[in-house]
């Protein structure tokens, strides 16, 4: 893509979309082949280090991978298509599409890799393409900063990932997932020592550390507390990118990774994960409440939903989490693309009316429902899916997770009241918040009047136009995917879903696991399904009512919204600033690191270099002393000998002064001495 000439840019982008479509069709075909069949695994020898097992790389295709393949390909295709319209007059068009291609490639790599090292490689590549795409408009300072932040924060997670890899490596000397599973099943914990089949032994804590390390990687990619700070900033990238990377696929890679290594985790790591997931879900939802940027709301909502998914994995609801991953991928992509459509339309509007305003700020929007029906439809459907209204996809998956969490709390607390119940409770509370912020956004964007038009006496709502057909088509496809009927015959009971029916929860094989933990979870979650559904329905209704009361068209909030400052009180500020996590990081990490760096440089300049310079100065002083000695003593001696030789020379010079008589004198003298010597 990057090397294709400028005039073929349209053709090239279509070609790449076409290739992705081909990939999507192939992946659907693969899914058909694979579905419920045995796992497909090929290995190629990659390289070897003497004395160690050979490192292999290959493809491991199981049900979840095949599904993920389809999701990635389809959404990628849709985003490609959407982008041909959305980005059509961007100067970096070719760059954009080549990076999009790179991203899709790397994402597929993560999905298919059979080897944690290879996963890590693609993991990083995905991070790279994310970096490149966020900084697409690189001349924007904020975009450049956001890209940097995204990558660096991800790196923090990656260090955890590497640590996890290292622990697995020293125990098992392999990264191959299937081999790891088998080896893990053969390892055992005795007396606090974790002994592997290969005879290596470690403290049992390292099993937990490995799990948490891997999870740390996922925390980075999937924007979990406390590493979620990068995701809202990443919205600086083009909207389709946000849809593809920062909502549907890449951020879900963390969840997918956790699903892949699910069997290797131990109970402590899982608990940790569940807690982090729940906290993130709650924090994300709170942060979404007071945002004014249409994309930021969605970004926080993504964080929150990702928190759900990881909580799902953590509580052992592996299948539910994956289910939510897939449904979320579609409806969140749809939301983002619809938001993109809104932004696009407002841009066009601004262009037409020569108005200058922030096309992403919800304070400028309103009433768009009438002029953008397709977009509205897509938005509405996916919002309902996100909130978890019955008949929509989100309902099925979210309820599955919540009932899993509830069951988990039951199991973990052993029917007694313990802190474990906080986790499902946070989940339920998040449902309320989700309903509030999503309805708020829906109201503020699509209902009421176009605030920018009414305030600035500009051309009215009539000037706003629906987006081009390509974008509309994409929105419709994604909107349709948000209906529950697609996923489950019985829209009220996820257990009827074809998805959950096929994905089986793999048995955790890490040593020290209570054998009946998983069966009990499943049993309990099936039993509590109805109560969970009831609770969550109640929550949604509560949220809906609150949202209606606060944000309905004509409410006080809505009327004053245009002039509203960013925050009105402390609570809003807390939400708006995402719990002040950024400042937190600034104070706790960035500032100290910078200070230490500056300090070290100063230390180097002032201590090490000064020490060395002082050393040099001392040396020079010593050298001077020595040179004095040299002059006075050594040179003195030399000078003396020179002086002596000079005197001798002067003395002898008189003998050599061209004075013949002196020569004669000397000759005679010599003669006399010789004779003397001879006759003596």
């Amino acid at each position: 893509m990057a090397i294709s000439p400028e005039r073929f840019r349209k053709a090239a982008s279509r070609a790449s979309s076409g290739l992705i479509l081909l990939g999507a069709l192939l992946s659907v075909y693969l899914l058909q082949l694979k579905w419920s069949g045995p796992d497909f695994h090929t290995r190629l020898e990659w390289f070897s280090i003497e004395g160690l097992p050979r490192l292999t790389a290959g493809i491991l295709l199981d049900d979840s991978a095949a599904l993920m393949l389809v999701v990635v390909n389809i959404i990628s295709f849709l985003v490609h298509t959407y982008s041909t319209a959305y980005m059509h007059d961007d100067p970096g068009y070719r760059r954009y599409f080549s990076f999009l291609g790179l991203f899709t490639f790397s994402m597929l790599g993560i999905v298919l890799a059979d080897n944690l090292l290879v996963v890590f490689i693609f993991w990083e590549l995905v991070g790279l393409s994310s970096y490149l795409l966020i900084s697409h408009w690189y001349d924007k300072e904020s975009a450049a900063k956001a890209a940097k932040k995204a990558f660096v924060v991800n790196r923090i997670g990656d260090v955890g990932f590497l640590t996890g890899l290292a622990v697995l490596w020293i125990q098992f000397k392999t990264f191959d997932l299937e081999a790891l599973e088998a080896l893990m099943a053969n390892s055992s914990i005795q007396n606090g020592q974790w002994t592997s089949f290969l005879g290596y032994s470690l403290n049992a804590d390292w099993l937990t550390i490995a799990g948490i390390g891997l999870f740390l990687g996922a925390m980075g990619k999937s924007a979990q507390f406390p590493l979620q700070v990068w995701l809202p900033d990443a919205m600086e990238g083009p909207t389709p990118v946000s849809a593809l990377i920062h909502a549907a696929t890449m951020v879900a890679a963390g969840v997918f990774l956790m699903a892949r290594v699910f069997v290797l985790l131990d109970i402590n790591a899982l608990t940790f994960m569940a807690a982090i997931g729940a906290v993130t879900a709650f924090m994300g939802a709170v942060a979404a409440l007071a945002q004014h940027d249409i994309k930021k709301v969605l970004a926080y909502s993504t964080i929150s939903q990702l928190g759900y998914m990881l909580m799902g994995i953590g509580v052992g609801a592996y299948d539910a989490a994956l289910f939510h991953l897939f449904t979320h991928a579609f409806f969140k992509a749809c939301l983002f693309l619809a938001a993109g459509a809104v932004i696009y339309a407002l841009h066009e509007y601004a262009h037409k009316t020569n108005a200058h305003f922030d096309a992403q700020d919800m304070r400028n929007m309103g009433g768009l429902r009438k002029r953008m029906p397709f977009t509205f439809f897509a938005y509405l459907v996916s919002t309902l899916a996100l909130i978890g209204i019955p008949f929509f996809s989100g309902f099925l998956s979210k309820d599955a997770i919540l009932s899993g969490a509830y069951a988990w709390a039951d199991v973990m607390s052993q029917e007694a009241l313990s802190w474990h119940y906080i986790i499902p409770d946070l989940g339920f509370f998040t449902v309320v918040l989700t309903a509030i912020y999503m309805f708020r956004q829906l109201f503020l964007v699509f209902f009421g009047k176009l605030r920018i038009a009414s305030q600035d006496q500009q051309a009215g709502l009539q000037a706003v136009k629906e987006v081009p057909p390509v974008m509309r088509g994409v929105l419709v496809v994604l909107g349709v995917m948000s209906f529950g009927i697609i996923w489950s015959v019985n829209p009220f009971d996820q257990s009827y879903s074809w998805f959950l029916g096929t994905i089986e929860v793999p048995t955790i094989v890490s040593p020290g696991f209570v054998v009946d933990w998983q069966p009990r979870l499943i049993e309990l979650s099936l039993r509590n399904h109805l109560e969970v559904m009831a609770i969550s329905m109640a929550m949604i209704v509560a949220g809906g009512v609150v949202a209606w009361y606060l944000y309905r068209p004509g409410s006080k909030y809505e009327r004053t919204y245009y002039k509203r400052p960013a925050t009105m009180n402390k609570l809003q500020a807390l939400s708006y600033n995402n719990w002040y996590l950024n400042d937190f990081f600034n104070v706790l990490v960035k500032k100290p690191v910078t200070a230490v760096a500056q300090g070290l440089t100063r230390v180097e300049k002032q201590v090490i270099d000064r020490a060395i310079n002082a050393f040099a100065v001392i040396n020079v002083i010593i050298a001077h002393a020595i040179s004095w000695i040299d002059r006075a003593v050594v040179d003195g001696f030399v000078n003396f000998s020179v002086f002596f030789a000079g005197r001798v020379g002067v003395m002898t010079k008189s003998l050599q002064g061209g004075k013949i008589q002196s020569y004669i004198l000397i000759a005679i003298m010599g003669m006399v001495l010789m004779i003397l010597w001879i006759i003596w």
């Binding site: 061209g658 004075k659 008589q661 004669i664 004198l665 005679i668």
Partner: protein
């Protein structure tokens, strides 16, 4: 007269000639010293020839020495004149350049 006396005389003259050659600055005086030395040698030759009056070889030698001395004196004086023309002095101390 014992021959030692001749020898002693010769030695005295020789040493005086030598002293002249060494100490005097004037080239001509130096030449005189050289003549003295030659004379001292001649005295020896003659004295030796006294021991052997049949062949009188010593006297032959002294004759040749006188001849050579004469030739030497002539050439030496010519050179001194030439040098004097060049340096305007016969002081040996001032004549110390090899190249004119």
């Amino acid at each position: 007269m014992t021959i030692e006396n001749y020898f002693i005389l010769s030695a005295i003259l020789f040493c005086i000639g030598m002293a002249v050659v060494i100490t005097r600055k004037n080239a001509i005086v130096v030449l005189m010293g050289v003549e003295l030395i030659l004379n001292a040698a001649n005295v020896n030759f003659v004295a030796i020839s006294r021991l052997d009056n049949v062949q009188i070889e010593g006297q032959f030698f002294s004759l040749f020495v006188i001849v050579v001395a004469a030739a030497e004196a002539a050439v030496a004086l010519a050179i001194i004149l030439k040098v004097y023309k060049y340096y305007n002095t016969t002081n040996l101390n001032e004549i110390n350049q090899l190249k004119g």
